[in-house]
Amino acid sequence: MEELRKLPAFFRRDLLVLLSYKTAVWTDWIGLLINLVTFSFVGRLVDPSRLPQFGGSRATYLQFVAVGIATSGFVQVALGQVMAAVRNEQLMGTLEALMMTPSAPATLQLGFVTFDMVYVPFRTSLFLVMAHFLFHLGFDLSGFGPAAAVMLALIPVVWGLGVVSAAGVLTFRRGGAVTGFAGAALTMTSGAYFPLDVLPNWLEAVARLNPVAIALGAARNALLGHAGWSGIVPTLLKLAPMAAISLLAGGLAFRLALRRERRLGTLGLY
C-alpha cells in the first residue's frame, strides 16, 4: 500500500512537466484533428461496400477510421511513453536518483507511466467526442462507456509491452527504433486504417490475434454497432490473459535489465 501511495507523486510531477510545455499540448491536439481532416478526404476514395458492418449497418470510412486513429494513437503514445519515460530519466540524469529512493522496481515502472495511463485514455476519449461533434460522426453516445472500458482493458497489455521496450532501453540504450517498429507492426495489423480482410490470408490470421485489433473491433462495435456493455464481455475475456502475459513479461524483463545494470554499474549511462 505504501508503494501505491507514491504513484500520485509521479502523476503530479508529469502533469507539471506537461503543463510547462503548453505549445506541445496544443500542437498534439491540432495534429490529431489535421489527421482526421486528412482521412475525411481519403474517405471519399474508399468504396463503402468494402467496409465492415457494425450492428447490421455499414459505417462510413470516417467513422471507421476515427476510432482507428484514436486507438492507434492510444497504442503509439502509450507504448512510446513507457519507453521514453526511462530514456528521459536517463538523459535527465534522474534515473539514478530515482533508483536510490526506497522504492520497489515495480513502483518505478508504474510511476513512469502513471500519468500517461490516465492522460492517454482521456486524450483518446476526448478526441472521439470532439470528432463526433465536429464531423457529425453519429457515434452511439451510450457506446462511449463500453469503448472506454475496452481501452482500459487494453492498458495493461500495452503497458507490459512498453515495459519490455523500457527494459530494452535500459539494456541497449537506444531502443526507440525497436519500439517504433513494434508500434508500427501492431498498428498495421490492428485494422486501424483499413479492414483486416484486405490483408493476405496468413497475415489476417495473425492480425486477428493482435490485442489492438481485438480491442479496436470491440470499440467500433460499441460506438457504431450499439453493442452495449454485454458486447464487450468476450473482448475483455480475451484481453485478460494477454494482459497477464504482457505484464509478467514486462515485469520480468525490467527487473532483469535493472539487475544487469546494477551488476555492470551502467545504470546512468546513455
Binding site: K6, A9, R13, T94, A97, M100, R262, L267
Partner: protein, 320 residues
Amino acid sequence: MPPDGSLALEVSQVSRRFGALQALDQVTIKVARQQIHALLGPNGAGKTTLLRIVTGLLQPDSGEVTAAGVAAGPDSREYRKAIAMVPSGDRTFYLRISGLENLAFFARLDGRNRRDSLQRARKCLEAVGLTEAADRRVGVYSHGMQKRLAMARALLGSPSVLVVDEATHDLDPEGARRIRALVVQAAERGAAVLWATQRLEEVKGFAQVVTVLRSGRVRFSGSVPELLATVELRRFLLRVRTGSNVPPTADQLAAALAQRGSVQATPDVEHFIVTLEDEVLLGDVMNDLGAHGIQVVACQEERSQLEEAFLRLTGDGEQA
C-alpha cells in the same frame, strides 16, 4: 575513534572488477555516526566505484556493505532508506518544475504523504538557504543553487549515511564553504558522512578520518594529522632581503646553507626555493641565514603538506 562509538557505514573487503581492470580490491572503510570521512584518490583510484557500491547503484563482486545495520542488496529498500547521496553532477533534477516540487516529489518517494512532503521540502529548502527560490524552476538555478538543492534532497529523509561525491569541485569558495557547512550540520545531527573529494586542503579541519585510495586499494586510512605525519617537508619558498633592502643572490643563500640543501632562484628576485637535506632543521637554517645578513620576510611550504602526502601515497610523489 568514532565520536560516539557507533558505526553507521561498514564497507568490508569489497572488491569489484570491470573486465581486466580491478577497480576495487579488498576495500574496507568504517564510518561512525557524526563522523566525516574523506575519501581521497586520483582519477581512476576507485572512488566513484566505491560510492556507487555504497549507494546501491552497483553490486560488488565480493565483500559486504551495511548502513545502519542493514546489508546492501539489489532490492533492499531498507538499505536505501538509510543512505542519501549528493551527486557530483548537476543534472539530477527535473528542470521544468520548481525546486519545491522536485523535493516534494522525492520526499513522497521516501514514503511521506503530500502534506508532509511539502512541509519537509520547505524545511530542507530553508536549511540550505533556498526558500526564496523554492517556486522557481530548477532550470534557472545557478550551479551552486543546484548543489544546495541536491544537499536539501539528501537531507529529506534524515539519512544515517550521507554520501557526498565531489560536491565542491566546481564551486566558488563561498559556495564550497556553504556546502561544507551543511555537511558539518548533517554530521552534527548524527549522520555518518563519506565525502569524496579532490580538494586536498578542504579535508583539513573538516574530516576526522581520511582514506586514500589508489588503483582500487586503500593506501592510507587514519586521521588528518596522521596523514600529514607521513611526510616531512623539505621544500620551502622563501622571500628574503638583506639589511640594505637589496635582494640577496642564490650564491649568498647557498653559502649560508653550507651544503645542507640546495637553492633555486625564481623569476621574482626576492623569492627562492630552498630544498633541505634530511635531518636539517628549518629553524637552524633560518638562524644561519640571519647570521649571514639575510632576512627571511616570509616562508611557506613550496607545496602543501597534504598534497605532498597525497602524491606520495598515490605514487606520484617522485615526479612532483
